[in-house]
Symmetry: C2
Subunit: 629 residues, 2 copies
């Protein structure tokens, strides 16, 4: 039987084979956090023509089922079918990103003026073959050569390593290449004349999104990128609900398994499509917030949530891939970017490293806007950090038609102030599938400037447009409609977004106060976060998420956490530098500060209760209201 | 239903329960290398009265079956039965030995003038509890206290350790006891007020016999002893046949599993009967020959057998119990007494350590007589070693009625030169069950002196006794007969023993020559080996196994390998000393020496071809021949 794709491609499928399985066989990988059990509801495809046996529809809505949506893992075609795979169901859109980012990353690495020194080192040794008179054991012979030829002492030899040496030494005729780790663990030996490839992976474990970079450790080339939702989402939207799940439902194992299988699922297509031997992936770096890092390593994060908010560990030892159950060389070492405190993790340390603010004398503000908002202020002498909970809305979660900033996402919107008709720009320039964080910010600021919503984010029902209507969740604005597909932004969505931006703004202003500064003293603002590449700074200021500062002071970093992880994967000096950043950074717990709630309440308005803080936005409002009339 | 023992005890048994299982439930452990599969044939008991369903008789001989012998694992009683358990079927005769040896071992340890310092150390720490202002992570807090309070730095923290700390630190209210290893691995933490027991095990892995000592690490007390046959025997009698099994039948895993389950089987009854928590057994030492040490750790010993005879490893890293699959605290470390070369292993290094010859200026000869014979000559300045293959006969294997030196073994024999009637001394003073090594040596030298056998070890058929008769293997001498039970020594047995003694004598004399000495220069001879405690030096000289030297030069050490392992378990200094012994010892490969075969052939006679080497034995022969007439 055949599967036809609306794009024109035709693939074979066997009787009794699931659609998910058949697609995978042909190199098309769908998101499948539950591993094909019909639970996660992520492997959606649209059945355009033909019949199939459908074992379960999982949590699909009746409207979706009516529209022909099926779960690929539960669908067994009975004759030829025609399907359409939505972009959000595809696991990897990475190679294109990788190709476009690779040069930029290599340039960045060069700009630090450090050597490429991965976690695992390679050396070659030429041992004297044994004789009756020179009859020391194989391991002693190796140790002696390490000491005498390379001045290396104190390497630890695991049992499996020693079990392998006798045969390899003889097969290699005593000319061998040794892989060993910075921290002095022997990883493997092989004949010296085999030119070993070496790869590493950098992983950003966000509360909502997981990103994996596959990197060639010889030259720093970014080979491929994979990203997906963190499937822990089903247990809670933010770190607090996940910690509660761990403590009250004993769910540490489940959460750990979720993130580990997300990562392994991302690795499969990347590794297969580039024909890479998993054994040659010999190191990994993870950057995640403190809770994510704990869960990844199976360490109970309970005390993070209990006053005085102490994590079990901030500087993680280098443990092996087999401990993490990440499917690369089992003996390879995983470096965890060190965390600062319970609510400022390795993702922020990695981000600061990628921003270089810690190397410069100018006072800078670093903002990482994800499910948590973390703010760092400082320079090459001092660094102070704080955190707030923003929620996952900017990553598309909890918003009716929200999605991550991947192909098909509306990344910017312009609304005509007279006709109220929106014009959308879509990532990849195809048909829109949803709205990503930057699109939401655009939409709200445009709706505000055109008077569609008021300063509280409520719809002005007198606006002369048919696009404001009552939906199942209350009032909503119709952004897009074509062939029965609609994209809306609801008043509930807007409330969510306002709460998120208020938390971020409150944290920034309180932190600046706490360190005795004012806004004018900030010489630079770095914006990090998954949506960051598409972010319109002006619109974010109108929203009141970012403080009103001259636009040229802002630098958009994108996902700075994965960039920092990439840097740590390649350079020993930068791993050390990450350690210095984490040690140096002082964490301030804002939740115990009385001022926080006041700041937050004031920031819930558009752009803010106190318009004097946003003088230019104020002018803009005045002008656009005139225009709107 | 009931099982009655001939000793008077009564135990319950359920329908469908095997005899082996029921006995175990009541604390009576039988040898069961195959784990109750009816294969190893070791769990023999005699059914005196009553009926039972017998599933298999395994390799039992028809005569044994006629005598009521059954395999306990294959026997399911159907009504009350009366049974007799032969001593050789009982797994442990250890506690008595332990009680009698404990004081002697503690005295020996004291005589070295070293502190008790096991592999795992215990320290207590009182950490400052965290506050909002003092909010470093739990692990950093622990590391800081280690450095500031105890000056300890560089400990490695495994993932499981870090996973456990947060809860324990809080439960313990920040007063904790830390177990960590010499080599800087954190093992576990617990509340400081729990007085932790600490135990260790010393293991001697012989080619034929395995011995386990359970030791209290606080005071060095020997709590219990277990010993059994090394069940690798089923794959071959000596190290060479076992290496062949590994290389030709890919049997490394099987051999490894055999020895590991032997050790674990010995541990079960010991640990249970003393109510010891396995978690509190926190270190182990193994001493074995080089092949046994390799197999124990799953390292292929193939190159040991190939010229130039190079082992994979002689100084084994300290790996964990979980790697070895020994059922003690999984994180505890196992120290392997270092080996010298392919045919001189950790058992010899341990033995030399126990002999103290390496601390004295007198030139001594150390002989370990087991399945391999190893000879060391030297003093506190130099040590030279050689090895030969003796075969397992002195440990009871390959001899018709041979057995280990445990209860029921004939340990000495006196034969009346006129009547040729033997008088036997039995270990434990009960009925004899077989002959152990020392009994064989006695028997042959007595038979020789009384003219029952000639200098070639052949029976003199003209001897006026009915005890020489023709058996299934040819001529044999009836040592014991009662109630249908017979114990004989056959001409084939004698040949085996002569070959073993000849190999040992040849190795001794060749080694002495190689180092440029002669017999007279030897100031002391240490005899080690499982049978050693019962060995009659005079008889061993008459046999021609030991060189003829004044009796007061001989010191019998017994199983010196397990004694050395015990010493290493308790003292860091003695572990270091073992390393020095292994480094210092020079190994000479006798098999490449042309003289060996000549020496061996000459030594096949009783006591030797050249009677001038045994002047006193020569006189004795002349005198006893006169007496015999």
């Amino acid at each position: 039987m055949d599967i036809k794709l609306v794009t024109g491609k035709t693939l074979t499928i066997s009787e009794g084979e699931s659609l998910l399985h058949a697609l995978k066989r042909h190199g098309i990988y769908l998101v499948s956090s539950c591993g094909g059990k019909g639970i996660c509801g992520k492997c959606r495809v649209r059945l355009v023509e033909g019949n199939a046996r459908i074992e379960s529809s999982g949590t699909l809505q009746p409207s979706e089922i009516d529209a022909g949506i099926v779960l690929a893992c539960q669908t067994f075609p009975e004759k030829d079918i025609l399907i359409d795979i939505p972009e959000e169901s595809k696991l990897v859109v990475g190679e294109k990103i990788a190709l476009s980012r690779s040069g930029e990353l290599i340039e960045l690495l060069k700009s630090y003026n450090v050597e490429i020194q991965p976690i695992v080192k390679h050396i070659t040794l030429n041992l004297p073959p044994p004789t009756i008179d020179n009859n020391i054991s194989d391991l002693e012979r190796l140790k002696r050569a390490l000491l005498e030829e390379k001045d290396i002492i104190g390497i630890r030899f695991p049992n499996e390593f020693v079990s392998s040496i006798s045969k390899i030494l003889r097969d290699a005729e005593w000319n061998i290449a040794l892989r060993y780790a910075d921290g002095h663990d022997a990883i493997s030996i092989s004949p010296a004349d085999m030119d070993m490839d070496k790869y590493g992976i950098a992983i950003d474990i966000g509360t909502t999104t997981v990103v994996v970079y596959l990197v060639n450790l010889k030259d720093g080339q970014l080979i491929d990128v994979g990203s997906t939702y963190n499937s822990q989402i089903r247990y809670g939207d933010d770190v607090i609900t996940r910690i509660i799940y761990v403590t009250e439902s004993k769910g540490l194992g489940e959460l750990r398994d979720s993130i580990v299988s997300d990562i392994n699922n991302l690795l499969v297509p990347i590794v297969e499509s580039h024909n890479i031997n998993r054994e040659d992936i010999e190191s990994a770096v993870i950057a995640g917030n403190t809770t994510m890092s704990h869960i990844f390593w199976g360490i109970n994060p309970a005390s993070i949530r209990e006053e005085p908010y102490i994590p079990a560990v901030t500087f993680f030892p280098r443990w092996k891939a087999e401990t993490a159950k990440i499917e690369i060389n089992t003996k390879s070492l995983i470096y965890t970017v060190p965390c600062v405190a319970s609510y400022v993790g390795g993702d922020i340390v990695a981000g600061v490293l990628a921003s270089k603010m810690h190397r410069k004398s100018e006072v800078a503000l670093f903002m990482d806007i994800g499910t948590n908002g973390e703010i760092v202020i400082g320079n090459n002498e001092w660094l102070v950090a704080a955190a707030c909970s923003a929620g996952p809305c900017f990553e598309g979660s909890g918003i009716r038609h929200g999605m991550r900033a991947t192909e098909g996402a509306i990344e910017s919107i312009k609304i005509d102030p007279k006709t109220f008709e929106p014009v959308c720009k879509v990532i990849g320039d195809g048909e829109p599938l949803g709205v990503c964080g930057s699109g939401m910010i655009d939409a709200i600021s445009e709706m505000f400037l055109t008077g569609i919503i008021d300063r509280k984010g409520k719809f002005v029902r007198s606006t002369r447009t048919g696009r404001i209507r009552d939906g199942t969740d209350g009032p909503e604005f119709l952004i897009y409609k074509k062939d029965g597909r609609e994209i809306v932004l609801t008043e509930v969505d807007i409330e969510n977004i306002l709460r998120a931006k208020a938390a971020i703004y409150a944290a920034v202003s309180l932190l600046i106060k706490e360190v005795g500064f004012n806004l004018e003293a900030i010489e630079r603002v770095y914006i990090a976060g998954g949506f960051g590449n598409y972010l319109d700074i002006d619109k974010a200021i109108i929203l009141g998420m970012l403080p009103e500062l001259p636009k040229n002071k802002f630098t958009i970093l994108g996902n700075a956490s994965i960039t920092g992880a990439y840097l740590c994967l390649l350079s020993k000096d930068l791993r050390r530098e990450a350690g210095v950043i984490a040690s140096k950074m002082t964490y301030i717990e804002l939740s115990v500060s009385r001022g926080f709630m006041d700041e937050y309440m004031s920031a819930l308005f558009l752009p803010h209760t106190h318009l004097r803080l946003f003088p230019k936005v104020k002018q803009l409002i005045l002008r656009s209201k005139n225009l709107g009339k």
